[in-house]
Amino acid sequence: MHEFPVMPLGPFNIDISTTVAILVSVIVTFLIAKLAVRNLSVDNPSKMQNFLEWVVDFVQNFISSTMPANRVKPFISLGMTLIMFIFISNLLGLPFGIVTETHHAHENLGITQELLDEKGGHVELAWWKSPTADISVTAGLALIVFVIVHFLGLKLNRKHYLKHYFHPFPVFFPVNIIETISKPVTLALRLFANIFAGEVLIATILMLGWYGTPFLAAWQAFSLFVGGIQAFLFTILTMVYISQAAIHDEEH
């Protein structure tokens, strides 16, 4: 498998491919959104504006399926950002990869002599991947969701939010704590595992050489689908968690 270049920067170890991928995803997402709203028009929207409005409608609809319609509005921006960023991140690693080969130790890229020896003096460095194929990144996203969910729960719905830890009986407290922690963990792992598996399989198919081209095409198409599904899942689960923690319906 490929190694990923890690640059030690003072006390930090910066994963270059991940950092680059995150930045590219952010920039691409922002550029797409910015292009879509370039010439905003009320009665004559451009194609891009129509597309983004369709995304807004879509996001609004599936958020409405998780919480009362009148509470949806503040979360549309969050849902849009999540789904667009994660979808673009998921696709980033699909079309191509950048791999360099090195036979020398590069301390400032994390290639130590030991690693080189271990790999038989030959290390392949992958410079390009989906940021969501890195557990550190998906953990970051899940952590953001975790913070938002519990902050909103405490802020908007304190009584019921705190009560739900002891529901239905106080002895369930440990179970509820496990559930609370498992939510962001599964969120992060699910997204990471799906995208990472996709990239691993792409790398594996690439080893087949030219014979693998049809498989690669099929798998890339499937990865496109998986990327969309995972982005959607992550976003809707976020909304479900927010709804569970922060929105208290009168009827239960």
Binding site: F12, I22, F30, L40, V56, S77, D134, S136, G140
Partner: protein, 160 residues
């Protein structure tokens, strides 16, 4: 591949930044425009509704006006019919009274003419009889009796 907490921090910061940027520069204006469009559609629907109502009302008014006009026309015709029949009656009445007046006048004229003729005849007859009488008297009355007659006459005149 491994765990790098730096990547986590970078991802979180990048996502936060992206959220802020998108909210401010992309979604904010987009939501505003969508809201504006919603308002516009609502407004247009209201306008359509009110104009439909106005049209209906106008239709109603026009119908009423037409009905009114029809009624007025009928009234005018009715009025003229009564007026004309009344006038005809009047004309006939006038003609009748005129005719009777003319008849009366003619009768009166006839009467007066008759009376005149009678009077004239009487005078004539009187004159003739006087003449006849005087002719007879000329032959029979003598001087004396004539004198007596004249005297009587004068006396009669003096008495009057």
């Amino acid at each position: 591949m491994g765990w790098h907490w730096e990547s986590t921090v970078i991802a979180m910061v990048a996502f936060g930044l992206l959220y802020w940027l998108l909210s401010k520069y992309a979604f904010g204006p987009l939501f505003e425009v969508m809201e504006k469009r919603r308002q516009l559609v609502l407004e247009q629907m209201n306008t359509a509704e009110s104009s439909r109502k106005a049209a209906e009302q106008q239709m109603e008014e026009q119908k009423a006006a037409l009905q009114q006009a029809r009624k007025e026309a009928y009234e005018i015709i009715e009025q003229s019919r009564t007026t004309s029949s009344k006038q005809a009656e009047e004309i006939v009445q006038t003609a009748k009274s005129e005719a009777s007046r003319l008849k009366d006048d003619a009768l009166k004229d006839i009467e007066s003419e008759k009376n005149k003729a009678i009077a004239a005849l009487r005078t004539e007859v009187g004159g003739i009889s006087v003449k006849i009488a005087s002719k007879i008297i000329e032959k029979q009355v003598d001087e004396k009796s004539q004198e007596q007659l004249v005297g009587q006459y004068l006396k009669e005149v003096g008495n009057k």
